[in-house]
Symmetry: C2
């Protein structure tokens, strides 16, 4: 297959090429590899300043925020009706978005709409930008829809398993995250010995775990090292197409540094980055990594 | 009135002396002053390592954790049936509690019970210790029951008032804290432009606000300085006798440093430390301090 055949109205079976908007980290390549294995042609749209240079292993265009017109043109040229966004992306401020880049006409025309999307939580921002792209006739898919193998499966990754007391903490964490979900905040909390040690908001999981390290050094955490669980869950009304929580080797390392017993995330609702390295590290550091059966998924 | 008349079964009018168990900060003296003005004899029980030396302005016994027998004897000697605990107290670990002090017999006998109280959240710990004291025939009162003037009143303290957009953030903060309340975690959150920036757990309000300062410096907060509100509320099933949130001049200073518009706490459910200095500082720093009408208190 070569680029640039415009196939409007392609049959569902021949869905054209898959465009992957690449943020940082290894996940864009993992998704591209999986989609390729499933027989799909892949084109990378690498976000300058975020994406890793390795994504050029696939046909690749470097794109910048603020050049929507060029982006839409490239998508049509490459016959990419289906799009996936994957990878890490530090949230830009609207001011930086507006001033820091040379905006093309298509972007300027949409500025009021972009500004509206910037108000509210992350879900709101991502959903607003996705709608803008879909209004151009493209289809935003979740990375897991084109590469289901990147999702966390039920059960333990590796040989470590949670104790009974860890399981109590996991249940409490899930209950807490169910309560905070409607507020469009972080998707993680740390529970130890039934006490909630930390709740994630905009600081992110890494920073929350650093806080645990500091509080432990100061003697503010009374449970011994090796106790406590990082619990991650999707928000109840989250659009899973572009905001699934991710766990990777760095997560395992941060969990170990925070002196926790392990981490638990809802199966099917978290992406695993670099699974082999993750399991190796979990074994070496003695922490468990658990995929939890989703609520309402039966016994 | 002099000490040491044992008046068991004193009439409600002559309720005996009031024992104030003093943690750190200026509040123990504020409560003592108010209770004295209301005609009550006051005896301070100053917690060594926490209480300020100034509490010796009143009849005073220095007490240590781990000497419950002596504490109960002194209470009876001083005719203190009613007790208030007030002031800041870093939570000790159970290990430190057990090893760091010479324990008397009365304490050792209660160790299993104390250990049980140490499991679970702060509410659980305080409630457990209060029950232990009440089982000896004493009565634990809330500081606001003997000194209602220390509570935050409805309306603005000082001249600054919240804008309409601040009020939207306050409502969102109250809704969030109502959702997290059942989990016995922090009683505060920071909301700005409808987005939840931070949720307090065991790190405490000061530390949460320091996080806002850091995130702002890193450009991770997109609302301009002077936007956003610190919202504090009591937990739904909290025993208000000994765990009301406190706001003081340091809180105002931390709110200003975090670049927020102000702070709002539920009226009648927060204690104001050093009100004059607080108002002066709020005016100087241009932040509002608001007592919110409690939910269900009518229009």
């Amino acid at each position: 297959m070569v680029a640039s055949q415009t196939r409007e109205g392609a049959s569902p079976v021949d869905a054209g090429s898959l465009g992957i908007i690449c943020g940082g980290g290894s996940l864009p390549l993992a998704v591209a590899d999986a989609a390729s294995r499933h027989g799909r042609r892949v084109v990378m749209f690498a976000l300058r300043g975020f994406a890793d240079g390795e994504v050029e292993r696939y046909p690749c265009h470097w794109i910048v925020l603020g050049a929507l017109g060029r982006f839409f043109r490239l998508l049509r040229q490459e016959n990419c009706r289906d799009l996936v966004f994957i990878g890490s992306l530090t949230r830009p401020t609207f001011g930086r978005f507006r001033l820091g880049f040379r905006l093309d006409l298509a972007t300027i025309r949409r500025l009021p709409r972009i500004a509206r999307a910037f108000r509210g939580g992350d879900d709101h921002l991502l959903a607003g930008i996705a709608r803008m792209i879909e209004d151009e006739g493209f289809r935003m898919l979740g990375a897991h829809e084109v590469a289901p193998e990147i999702l966390l499966a039920e059960g333990a990754l590796g040989t470590r398993a949670p104790t009974e007391s860890d399981r109590v903490d996991i249940v409490r964490g899930l209950e807490l995250l169910a309560a905070t979900g409607p507020f469009d905040i972080g998707q993680a909390a740390v529970i130890a010995g039934r006490q909630v040690l930390a709740v994630e908001a905009i600081e992110g999981t890494d920073r929350m775990l650093e806080r645990i390290v500091a509080l432990r050094q100061e003697g503010r955490i009374r449970v011994p090292a090796g106790t406590g669980v990082l619990v991650k869950a999707p928000k109840p009304q989250q659009d899973r197409r572009f905001d699934l929580p991710t766990i990777g080797p760095e997560t395992v390392e941060a969990v170990a540094r925070a002196g926790l017993a392990g981490l638990a995330a809802v199966a099917g609702a978290a992406i695993v980055a670099e699974p082999q390295r993750l399991v190796q590290l979990a074994e070496a550091r003695g922490v468990f990594v658990l995929g939890i059966k989703p609520a309402g998924a039966g016994a």
